[in-house]
């Protein structure tokens, strides 16, 4: 067996696991590993400007590809800086492995320089974590970390490696055995056969069914199966925020996003349905509104890989634990077996749904002299479509995020990258960088707000260094729009701490990095302007679009109501 030291084993096992890109930030506790990385022919390291940015980049890399994102940081502040990014990935079940340096084992517990209990600090926001107490643990723990991160309900895993375990002087056997077995960890893949039969019977019986897709469809690569089932039974399809891109938006059976800022037709269809066929969603509070008033007449079939997500909030009538793609394939087989056809009454249901659609809840009226944010997203989506560009779109959190979810038409899975669970401002830009590294020939757009962009704008240096052609669109309304709209409606227009006075000139800001920035204040040539920007395929551009401060995201569910207790602001029209 080959003899390698601890630091070499870290790099070798990552290479053997097929890792080609790492995002990180060095420090005292990982210098041995960085020294080995210096020689690696297979792994390219990207130096972020903040550890949070590094892990968000790995996150964007993972979300856009389905591969495990990898990041490496030092002990202490290096590790604590990653907490938000880990929690972001945990919230949306994204496969990540974070390697953290740790002080030497003999110093652990002595409050040594840059010592923090990384396992303890990260415990509530990771799927699992390892502390390598001896060098021999390194390779096997990293293999286990990849296995845990990428199977079952995916998520981030931390591997904490003390400095002395990386010791270059101590050589020991490198075990290249790739199979990993963890006695206590066996995610369910196949759905229970009896439950599959029951589900199919209910599906065929339902007069007003709806299919609800969540992030599990995107992360579980189940889009093709979802489409097939929806087509074969003529089902309307509604998506959660995280499910967006899991079903082609241009398909007439697609009704868009449900929930707090969901579309009128999506929420009405859910509320009036007699059967909800839910795949890979956890019925989060932003999706359901008040659980006790949620869809009163619906039988619920709930497919999820995580048994703890089933009946956690909304009680499922037919729970099916298993991998989304596998279970849907089983359902397709069963449908074939019983020769399942769309329900005879489905057209009556579609008649009702088409009436819901007539509400045109996303229509908005243009304003003189100021650009509406909706207009920006709608135009961007239209221009991309016309140019035949199928971009990866990342967002931050706030109004721009909801407008993107509502107005941008996503056709292919993994193309919408957003923080749904944790709601992390600051994810969008570094995630776009990660997605661009993973997809160098594709268009990557970051839609952000003037508030959110400033949370991780230090990563502009990476764009400069690697000449990444990311396009950043800032919906710049000079306020924290989402909080402000709460203040407008519920706090008598008392705008406490939502004014972003002191914003930089974003164009000059990127110019300091020798990058291109333009400001748009007028919608006269929006389409042409956007076309020009997108056709400049090789260059980064930041587009600072000055938008209306008073526009609210609508529809808007009333708190503690049902899914149809919606505010539809007609003044927007």
């Amino acid at each position: 067996m080959e003899k390698l030291n601890g630091a070499q084993q870290v790099v070798r096992v990552l290479e053997d696991l097929g890792v080609t890109r790492i995002f990180g930030y060095p420090g005292a506790a990982v210098t041995d590993i960085y020294d080995e990385l210096y020689d690696s022919k297979k792994i390219v390291h990207t130096l972020a400007r903040h550890e949070q940015g590094a892990v968000h980049m790995a996150d964007g890399y993972a979300r856009s590809t389905g591969k495990v994102g990898v990041s490496i940081v030092t002990s202490g502040p290096g590790a604590t800086n990653t907490v938000t990014a880990l929690a972001t990935a945990y919230g949306d079940s994204i496969p990540l492995v974070l390697i953290t340096g740790q002080v030497s084992t003999d110093l652990i517990g002595t409050d040594a320089f840059q010592e923090v209990d990384t396992m303890g600090v990260t415990r509530p926001v990771v799927k699992y974590s390892f502390l390598c107490k001896k060098p021999e643990d390194i390779a096997i723990n990293i293999r286990k970390a990849f296995y845990i991160a990428s199977t079952g309900r995916k998520g981030p895993v931390v591997v904490d490696i003390p400095k002395n375990c990386q010791n270059r002087a101590y050589l020991f056997d490198y075990d290249n055995k790739s199979d990993v077995h963890i006695r206590s960890y066996n995610p369910t893949i196949f759905g229970h056969k009896g439950q599959i039969k029951r589900a199919v019977t209910e599906l065929l019986k339902a007069k007003q069914p709806v299919m609800l897709i969540g992030g599990g469809v995107v992360q579980g690569e189940a889009s093709a199966e979802v489409l097939q089932i929806a087509k074969s039974l003529n089902l309307p399809v509604v998506s959660t925020l995280m499910g967006i891109s899991g079903y082609p938006a241009s398909d007439p059976q697609y009704l868009g996003m449900l929930g707090m800022h969901g579309l009128y037709e999506a929420n009405e269809t859910m509320h009036n349905s007699d059967l909800i066929f839910a795949v890979g969603t956890r019925f989060a509070d932003r999706a359901t509104n008040k659980v006790s008033k949620f869809c009163p007449n619906a039988t619920i079939i709930h497919i999820d890989v995580d048994p703890a997500s089933i009946s956690k909030t909304v009680t499922a009538n037919i729970p099916i634990v298993g991998d989304a793609k596998t279970v849907l394939t089983q359902i397709l087989t069963e449908l074939k077996e019983v020769d399942g056809k769309p329900n005879a009454d489905i057209n009556l249901w579609w008649d009702k749904i088409n009436v819901f659609k007539q509400k045109h809840c996303l229509d908005f009226r243009k304003k003189d002299g100021i650009i509406r944010p909706q207009e920006v997203i709608q135009t961007l989506s239209k221009v991309c479509h016309e140019l035949g560009i199928n971009p990866y779109v990342t967002t931050d959190v706030g109004q721009h995020q909801m407008f993107t979810a509502q107005y941008f038409k996503f056709e292919q899975p993994r193309h919408f990258i957003t923080s749904g669970g944790l709601g992390t401002m600051g994810l969008g830009f570094p995630a776009a960088i990660g997605a661009q590294f993973a997809n160098p020939h594709d268009c990557v757009i970051c839609i952000s707000g003037d508030g959110s962009f400033q949370m991780n704008m230090q990563e502009l240096a990476i764009v400069k260094k690697y000449k990444l052609p990311v396009k950043v669109f800032i919906l710049d309304n000079s306020v924290l729009g989402m909080v402000r709209q709460f203040q407008t409606v519920f706090y008598h227009e008392r705008y406490s701490a939502t004014n972003l006075d002191g914003n930089p000139n974003f164009v000059k800001l990127v110019e300091a990095y020798d990058l291109k920035g333009i400001q748009i204040t007028d919608d006269a040539n929006l389409e042409e302007d956007f076309k020009k920007i997108l056709l400049d395929k090789d260059n980064f551009t930041l587009v600072d679009v000055i938008t209306d401060t008073n526009t609210k995201v609508m529809p808007w569910l009333r708190a503690n109501g049902s899914m149809v207790d919606m505010m539809l602001n007609d003044e927007e029209k």
Binding site: S184, Y185, A308
Partner: protein, 167 residues
């Protein structure tokens, strides 16, 4: 409702803290907890006493099962039916003079408790039974003598019949 949850898990770094962390993170209460390795040293068994209705306990059970280290979780609502449960109590009491010392000894005989340590002025009593009986014993002791300090182990339980966490 009183619930006993038994957990079999791998003896890994941080395993116990993940279990305890889950309770605090999700807002569940731990009334008491016992943990120790099993005959297989790579495994530990934890018994947790908690309060909650059936649906809450089902949620806790699912979340516990989701923890990577956890091999098996079982819960039991009604302690008199499905589970044999015991708690150990040590109580240090003032025992001065022949009469008081005899009275405490008699009490121990009635409850089948043991005196495990003596000094001229103190007894340490040991009592093993269900939590309910431990409460009763403690009350009876307190009526006889001044209690200096007590320590209870928390509940330890095993299922009746064929049901086993190890199968």
């Amino acid at each position: 409702m009183r619930q006993i949850i038994s957990i079999l898990l791998e003896n890994e770094v941080g395993a116990l803290s993940r279990v305890v962390g889950l309770f605090s993170q999700r807002g569940y209460n731990i009334e008491n907890i016992t943990a120790a390795p099993t005959e297989d040293k790579t495994l530990s068994r934890i018994t947790i006493l908690t309060e909650g209705d059936g649906s809450v306990v089902e949620r806790i059970t699912k979340q516990l099962h989701k923890l990577v280290n956890v091999i098996k979780v079982s819960s039991q609502q009604d302690d008199s039916v499905g589970i044999v449960e015991r708690e150990i109590l040590f109580v240090k009491v003032q025992a001065v003079g022949h009469t008081q010392r005899e009275e405490i000894k008699t009490l121990c005989d009635i409850f089948k408790a043991q005196i495990v340590d003596i000094t001229p002025e103190l007894y340490i009593l040991q009592f093993v039974d269900t939590s309910f009986e431990v409460d009763r014993f403690l009350k009876a002791v307190a009526e006889q003598a001044e209690v200096i300090e007590t320590v209870r182990s928390g509940v330890c339980g095993i299922f009746r019949g064929e049901h086993s966490l190890h199968s």
